[in-house]
Symmetry: C3
Subunit: 153 residues, 3 copies
């Protein structure tokens, strides 16, 4: 097990198995020295940890945890593509979609669940550009979906 | 006509002319060995094949067909950029936006209209990472919008 | 000051300071010869120029101006990453998210505020691929959010 997987263990979030795509695609694709992950849902052992919209069904606090879980699944997808998370040289971009009501605008805090986690895991290499958007609906009624673009060597 | 365009004919979906952008941009841009397409709508001969939200105005089954049409238009945009679809070495990423009500969560099946089609056309090179999102509204009241990142040689 | 910053002055839109991220990330990241910006809001001197949805709270005409402001902030983010906007060789991709009601579909005109502006600033190098999406909600109740992928030398 590599340095980054050790770090995940240490943080209390051992790397899960990659989540099988819910449809006709794969978890991540390499082009050049970039990995593009599929949008990742907050799956835990094959099931969504929560369903519904923020904040009606899922509190912002819980949604932030879910963004972290989705980011952890995105790391499993990165490992699927490049074999070893120690090869990651930079998290380039994080996009977080949050299933929210139109009047909920506290979206950045939720996506911080992903951003802060990636900073803890990768240090300076985990600091990224980011887009956060509140959307009408996500696959399987997931409250959050996170995708990554990661640079590796 | 190249191998991939022959394959499209064979599948019953001859490559259409590229759809003129509905505003101040172009259908696709090359950087390095990647093509980024603009978001593509399900246009057929210059008109949207359907308008409205899923599932209120457009059934999920029909929306899946529309995602395929949008993906076909995205291939026309790729050809616009690189001249010949036989140069495609990998479909890297598919992002599908679906104009849907907040309570509709059967989004992945719709985006499979794009994913399965790209698999049929390109075989292994068509297998991609993917993000699917349900959104409030799309340009011109389109039910779906699909964008691609494609690697070429 | 470089040629592009001169051009911005001339157009009446001097380059602002980069907008500090509203959360745990940075304004832009370089990978290879690409810059990925974070999603940019229509901030003016540290405050959102408008809040609310289009067209309920913010007219489409005003939202188009906001898209231009967000694009200008995105250029400040690009400068943050590469130091000098004269190094930009191509605006590759513009993605514009617009906080809109489900029945508002005049989205492309709004995103033209970003697209036309980038064309004025960079000429041929400013012509890009683009995706426009209407979403339920944006950070801090912003009406628009614009992100760029830019190629540089």
């Amino acid at each position: 097990m590599g340095r980054i997987e050790d770090r995940l263990e240490e943080l209390g979030f051992p790397l899960p198995e990659v989540v099988p795509p819910v449809a006709a695609y794969i978890p991540a694709v390499i082009t050049g020295n970039l990995v593009y992950t599929a949008g990742q849902l907050p799956m835990v052992q094959g099931k969504l940890a929560e369903i519904g919209k923020v904040p009606t069904h899922v509190s912002p606090e819980r949604a932030k945890e879910l963004a972290q879980i989705a980011a952890l699944n995105a790391l499993a997808a990165v490992k699927y593509a490049i074999g070893d998370l120690d090869r990651v040289t930079r998290v380039v971009k994080v996009t977080g979609f949050i299933a929210s009501t139109a009047d909920f605008t506290g979206l950045p805090v939720i996506n911080n669940g992903a951003s802060e986690f990636l900073g803890l895991v990768f240090g300076d290499a985990g600091v990224h550009a980011r887009t956060t958007v509140g959307v009408a609906s996500l696959p399987l009624d997931a409250p959050v979906e996170v995708e990554l673009i990661v640079e590796f060597k």
